[in-house]
């Protein structure tokens, strides 16, 4: 434990900055990723077979690809097709794509929990299909998927460690651990501190998700 104390004395502020960057990356990729996932889930409801096929392919690809593989592809393979993205853009794009695929998939199961009788009732009242989706289906679907999306957000937060695999400007927690391991040969202590910060963040996200879930739960 003495080693951890010494580490915090030397690198305390650096850990603080790294934690903030981890949070920032999480937020930057979750917000667009979640929004995109909602859009994809809604578009998959439309009775257009080619679009459905394309979106299903989209979800399956980004749900089943190793995130690190996707990142390496975006950073090192795309430039040969003359697509050069900044490292921070590449990391956020990778995480947002994966997040959107999982969001769309969870929402689909959320949408399936909405009783088809409600939709028929709304349509027979003269509501337009898009209004049915935005006013009846989506609100209930979103309330149903708070729990899985909370888990997704935690997984996404942990996946920000991918940034350490490319020359990302700035150091999030995992990149900081690598740096400390090299500079002061204190890799394991640094990893313990980073792990504690990851776990704490995950617990906070889980707790907030639980609160939200209790507030929004649909009593069936």
């Amino acid at each position: 434990m003495g080693e951890v104390h010494k580490l915090l004395a030397d690198y305390g502020p650096a850990f603080g900055q790294a934690l903030l960057l981890t949070w920032k990356l999480t937020a930057l990729s979750f917000v667009p990723g979640f929004a995109l996932g909602v859009v994809v889930a809604v578009l998959r409801l439309l009775p257009l077979p080619p679009l459905r096929g394309a979106l299903t392919a989209y979800v399956e690809v980004f749900r089943n690809i190793p995130t690190v593989g996707l990142l390496i592809f975006i950073v090192f393979a795309l430039p040969d097709l003359n697509v050069v993205l900044d490292y921070d853009t590449a990391v956020v794009l990778t995480l947002a794509l994966v997040c959107s695929a999982f969001t769309a998939d969870y929402l689909r199961s959320g949408i399936n929990t909405v009783d088809s009788g409600q939709i028929e009732a709304a349509l027979s009242l003269g509501m337009r299909p898009i209004t049915v989706i935005t006013a009846i289906v989506l609100p209930q679907a979103l309330r149903t998927v708070v729990q899985p999306v909370t888990s997704l957000l935690i997984a996404l937060m942990l996946s920000t460690s991918l940034a350490s695999q490319v020359p990302f400007p700035g150091r999030e927690l995992t990149a900081l651990v690598s740096k400390i391991a090299n500079e002061s040969a204190a890799g394991i202590a640094a990893f313990a501190v980073a792990a504690a910060l990851y776990v704490t963040t995950g617990l906070v996200i889980g707790w907030l998700g639980g609160l939200l879930e209790r507030r929004l739960r649909i009593l069936r």
Partner: protein, 300 residues
């Protein structure tokens, strides 16, 4: 399009991305010469083994537990075809294994990274770490180093048409690649403090970044750069001479181990009988266009 197809095309694209001949991995090692050299290495007599508890323990276990890497081009690269590792580090490891056990193949390999090198020794999970391991005071507080058995200096690689960068003095404000976990970032902080440093995980990724124009220069071990140029088609060149402090590579052992004296005696032996120079020629010299082997670093 199945997931398999997509993954396959991803891999293909990645292979394509790193297939630039000019920045290929460099000249391959002469496997036959390397294997023959290791097979001719000295074997210690029983008294020499008995004089060291570290060596005795390995002799009794019947294998040497190594912490190393498989992806270091000149130093320790796994050949997928025959499952053997070759390179300068791999050669030292196998010669030492043969010296203790009489059979160079009796190595138990554990993958280590710059984050885990000290810990595997502290936990006694390996007998030694031999992985282009620079001797630094911070590391020497936790573990003991035998050697050094090699020293390196940094060099600068740029595209052949780059006139702006003539040496490390011209790196201010430029994007410079280096390898994370190497001494590169510290060297750049000292010699080119105004450079915009980008740390890559592997040598190949740094070369790709230079080829794709993401960075203006790549600073790493000079011999690695010579090797990258050895298959070159003239698209890249070295900017200036090697620079910076001599970076000594040591062999990591558990703190206070008497293996230090044993390995140092072994290193002096293979340096004296010419094995060290031959190993350098096979694994580094021939592959970088350098003819004369350097003088091995002084062992304290």
């Amino acid at each position: 399009m199945s997931i398999k197809t997509i993954l396959k095309s991803t891999v293909a694209a990645l292979a394509f991305a790193s297939a630039g001949p000019l920045f290929a991995q460099g000249t391959a090692i002469d496997t036959a010469a390397f294997d023959a050299l290791v097979a001719r290495g000295p074997v210690a007599d029983a008294a020499t083994i008995a004089s060291s508890t570290w060596a005795t323990k390995i002799k009794q276990a019947g294998s040497l537990r190594l912490g190393g890497t498989q992806t270091s081009n000149l130093f320790s690269l796994l050949n997928e075809k025959d499952g053997k590792m070759r390179g300068f580090d791999a050669g030292i490891t196998q010669l030492l294994t043969r010296y203790i056990l009489g059979d160079a193949a009796k190595v138990q390999f554990t993958q280590v990274s710059s984050s885990t090198r000290e810990q595997v020794l502290i936990n006694n999970q390996v007998d030694m770490v031999l992985a282009t391991y620079s001797i630094t005071p911070a590391r020497a507080e936790k573990i003991s180093f035998a050697g050094p058995y090699y020293t390196s200096q940094a060099g600068v690689l740029v595209k052949a048409n780059n006139k702006a960068i003539q040496s490390y003095n011209d790196l201010a404000g430029k994007k410079v690649a280096t390898q994370a976990g190497s001494t590169g970032p510290a060297i750049l902080a000292q010699f080119a403090p105004k450079a915009v440093v980008q740390e890559f995980q592997t040598h190949q990724e740094a070369l790709d970044a230079l080829r794709q124009g993401r960075v203006d220069a790549y600073v790493t071990d000079y011999t690695l750069l010579l090797n990258a140029l050895s298959l070159g088609t003239g698209d890249a060149k070295l900017a200036g001479a090697p620079f910076g402090a001599q970076d000594p590579y040591g062999i990591g052992l558990p703190k206070g181990s008497d293996g230090v004296a044993f390995i140092n005696a072994f290193l002096k032996k293979i340096e004296a009988d010419g094995t060290w120079a031959k190993l350098w020629t096979v694994s580094i010299g021939q592959r970088t266009g350098s003819t004369t082997a350097p003088t091995p670093p002084a062992i304290p």
